[in-house]
Structure formats: C-alpha cells, structure tokens
C-alpha cells in the first residue's frame, strides 16, 4: 500500500486508485487494528488530495506552435 511518491505529487487517477485499494484492503479481515488505523489514515490523506485536485481542477489548454510543428515535420 505504500507509495514511493509523496501524495501531493500524485495525479488524480493514481490517487483514487490507491484510495480504492485502501478501502478494499480494509474490507478484508484479519488485520491488526493499528494497521487498520494506519490504512484508514492513509485513505483519508488520499481522499483529501483527491478532493483538493478536484477543487483546483482547471482545464489546461496548450497549442502546438510553429516551432514544434517544424520540429516534427
């Protein structure tokens, strides 16, 4: 469940995917409580990051400019 990247740098899709994995892992039985709580806290952080990504989301639009076009031509 641990991820090498800090949460703040994760993209929405992977953050949410990990959140879902955390939920699934919590749902499976036979886990010590402290581990469950650590998982829960991880899940909370992931969810918070997701929420802030959604809040701040703004379509980023760029345009291929002349130089780039020439580069590929």
């Amino acid at each position: 469940m641990s991820n090498s990247k800090p949460i703040e740098e994760m993209a929405y899709e992977e953050t949410f995917a990990e959140l879902q994995a955390v939920v699934a892992a919590l749902e499976s039985e036979g886990r010590p409580l402290d581990e469950s709580i650590a998982l829960y806290e991880r899940g909370q952080s992931l969810a918070r990051h997701c929420a802030s990504l959604l809040e701040k989301a703004e379509l980023k639009v760029r345009q291929l400019n002349g130089e780039v076009l020439q580069e590929g031509a």
Partner: protein, 408 residues
C-alpha cells in the same frame, strides 16, 4: 406488360385508359429509381408543405412534386426558379389531370452528383481495404488525461469543445494542433496535425472536428490522405464533423463518430468530474464505515474481556465491600432519620392537643369572657352583675371595662 389486343379495338373509359397508362409508366423499373438533372421553374411551396415545380432543360420540361416529409430534408437548400439541380425520385401519374410527374424524394444542387460519386468510389475502395472494419475500432478511454484536438484555432467548434471539456473533465490536459479545415491545403494540414499530436504529445484520445458547412466545405474530411491518417492514428480518434446529418469518410475510419464537435467532446469524457466527486464521496464514506465498524467490534471484544476480568479482580471484592459499607451507612442514616421524624410527629400531636384545650381559643371565634374586676370571678348569670356594677370583658384581642346599665 400489357399488350393491346390486336383482334379487337378496345373501348375504355377515360379512367380505365388513364389507369393503363399509369401502369405502363410505373411498370418501367428505370423510371422508379432515377436521377434527373434540370433547372427549376414554376417553383411553389403552398401551405400544405409539399413542393411543386417543373424541371426543364433546353428540350423538354418535367412536372415534379416533392412531398412534405421529403421536402423537410431539403429545407437547408435555398430553392428558387433558375436553380440547377439533380432530383431523385420515381415516375407517377396524377389521374385527375392525366399528367405524369416525377415524385422527388432527394433534391441537391447540380454538381454534387460528381462529388457524391467520388465519395462512393473512395468509400468502396477503403472499405475493401478493411479501413472501416469495426474490428479495427479501439475503445475510447474512460478517463483521458491528455486530449488532443485537431481543428481550426479560430472556429466555434474549438470553443464549443473546450467549453464541454472544462465543464465535464477539467482535470484533463488539452493540446490543440491547429489546422486548416477547408480548402486545397486542408487535407495535408490535417494529416500533419494528426501526426504531430501522435508523435509529440501522445494523447489518450484525439478529437478531429469541424463545425457545420456545405458539402464542399467539409470535403477535406473525405480526402483519402486524411482518412488514412485517421485510420493510422496511434491514439483513438473521435470525429465530430459538421452536423448530425453530415457523414464524411473520416467518420467511417475513426474509432467513434460523433454527430457534432460538442458531442465529440462529450464522448471523449465518459466520466465527468461530477462522477469523480460522487465516487470519492462514496469511498470516503466506505472508509469511515469500515474503520468505525472495526473499532466498534474491537471495543465490544474489549468490553467482554473487561467484564470477565473485573469479575475475578480484587478490585471487584473491594467494590463489593465498599458497596456493603455504603449500604450499611445508608440504612443507618435512614434509621436515624426515621426516629427523628417519629419524635417530631409525636411532639406535633401533643402541641395540637394542648392547643385544643386552650380556654381562650374560643375567643377567636367571637366569644368573650366577662368577669368582675373586684374579685376576677367570671360572670355566668345576670344576677351576678347588678345594674351600675362594673365588668371586665375579655376579647380575642384586648379587653374592655364596661358598666351594667340594665339587669333584667
């Protein structure tokens, strides 16, 4: 086909005659599915919605009717006398006037026929090559992070698509590869833009779009080079060219055809930010629910163990002793209090009895005690107080000294 009998001169009513001619005309397959080219004259569009006109060329004229339902499809076209058109339809005979006419179902400007023929030819070639094979079509990603757009940088189509994308999926990155979308140079520009996007940006999906226009305006999207570039695109391509009713060859080669640029942007974002918010909320609730249940279960277990532990612990005996002590103290103080109350009640009883025996108590109800001041004796009879003697009258409050005026 009916043969006129040779051995007898037939005698027919006008209706029978007309009906025979009608059958003759309508029996000719070549006249049932035909394109006729000519110039419109005597055009009229009465309230019924049907169109009536005559097609003519230098040598002949042909009456035509177009029924309302078919006429609706031609409404984008400005129809007027002198317009050169191609009309598709079948022969018909209007019995009341005995006139044959072309019943038109498709009307298009002259010249489109050649374009259409080229369209069909190229479509057949590319289809035979397997370029339009449904098996070649790739699924559109549910959650594209990088969206490439090939369209005119100044058109309304781009504005519409960006509006839809920023409303539905503002998490996405968009890269516009601007291109000409009509004219001689458009096909090569479109091909170059598609290739640039694929090599430089590697988008998850590409939108190839253009707003509505005439068939000539959209023609670049029927160009073989463009069609091949779409079929060869690394990223799946959604086409949104023209309006709902416009079909171009890129639509057949693309992975998904949208009726308009706006619809293309919608199809490129099957999952919207609202969906994300919803499922995030659901995950969060699930997370709380699970951890809440786990903690509850643990606490229940803990309580059970605790109960067992307490049963055997010295603390419990201590508490039992404590309780017994409390109990005794309570009983003791209850006993003491009871005795005090009893004494108090008894005292009250005596006090009441004493009060009832107070001889002066009756004075409060209006009686008075009369006595002789000289010896203090209570006067019980009139004889004891002769006229002129003084008496003392004791009232509930204070007393009076009075003189007997009469004694009878």
């Amino acid at each position: 086909m009916n043969q006129i009998p040779l051995f007898d001169t037939p005698r027919l009513t006008v209706t029978e005659f007309t009906r025979r001619v009608r059958r003759l005309l309508e029996g000719d397959k070549a006249l049932q599915d035909v394109w006729v080219q000519g110039e419109i004259s005597n055009f009229s569009r009465p309230a019924s919605g049907h169109l009536y006109f005559t097609l003519k060329d230098a040598g002949a004229s042909l009456r035509c009717v177009m029924w309302k339902g078919d006429a609706l499809r031609a409404r984008g076209m400005p129809l007027h006398d002198g317009l050169s058109v191609e009309a598709h339809g079948k022969i018909g005979l209007y019995e009341p006037s005995g006139q044959y006419q072309l019943i038109v179902d498709i009307l298009r400007p002259a010249g489109e026929g050649a374009l259409y023929a080229e369209f069909m030819r190229l479509k057949a070639v590319l289809e035979a090559e397997g370029l339009f094979d449904p098996a070649r079509k790739r699924p559109i990603p549910q959650f594209p992070r990088k969206i490439g757009i090939v369209t005119s940088p100044t058109g309304a189509a781009l504005r519409d698509m960006l509006n839809v994308l920023s409303r539905r999926m503002p998490l996405a990155d968009v890269l516009l590869a601007p291109s000409l979308v009509q004219g001689e140079e458009a096909p090569s520009a479109l091909v170059a833009a598609l290739q640039k996007l694929n090599t430089i940006y590697q988008p998850d999906v590409i939108l190839l779009a253009r707003g509505g226009g005439s068939i000539e305006d959209l023609w670049a999207f029927n160009d073989e080079r463009v069609v091949r570039a779409v079929a060869g695109s690394v990223a799946p391509v959604i086409t949104g060219v023209g309006h709902e009713t416009d079909f171009t060859l890129v639509d057949f080669a693309s992975d998904l055809r949208a009726p308009t640029p706006t619809a293309a942007a919608e199809l490129a974002t099957p999952i919207t930010i609202d969906d994300l918010v919803f499922s995030l909320r659901a995950s969060l609730e699930r997370l709380d629910e699970i951890i809440g249940r786990k903690i509850y279960e643990r606490r229940q277990g803990l309580n059970a163990v605790n109960t067992g532990l307490k049963f055997y612990s010295p603390e419990r005996r201590l508490m039992t002793e404590q309780q017994r002590l409390d109990d005794a103290t309570r009983r003791m103080s209850r006993g003491l209090g009871g005795r005090l109350a009893l004494e108090s009640a008894r005292l009250d009883g005596w006090r009441d009895r004493l009060e009832s025996l107070n001889p002066l108590a009756v004075l409060a109800r209006g009686y008075a005690v009369v006595s002789r001041p000289q010896d203090g004796k209570v006067v019980l009879t009139a004889q004891q107080a002769p006229a002129g003697s003084n008496l003392n009258v004791r009232l509930a409050e204070g007393s009076l000294d009075v003189e007997v005026i009469d004694n009878s």
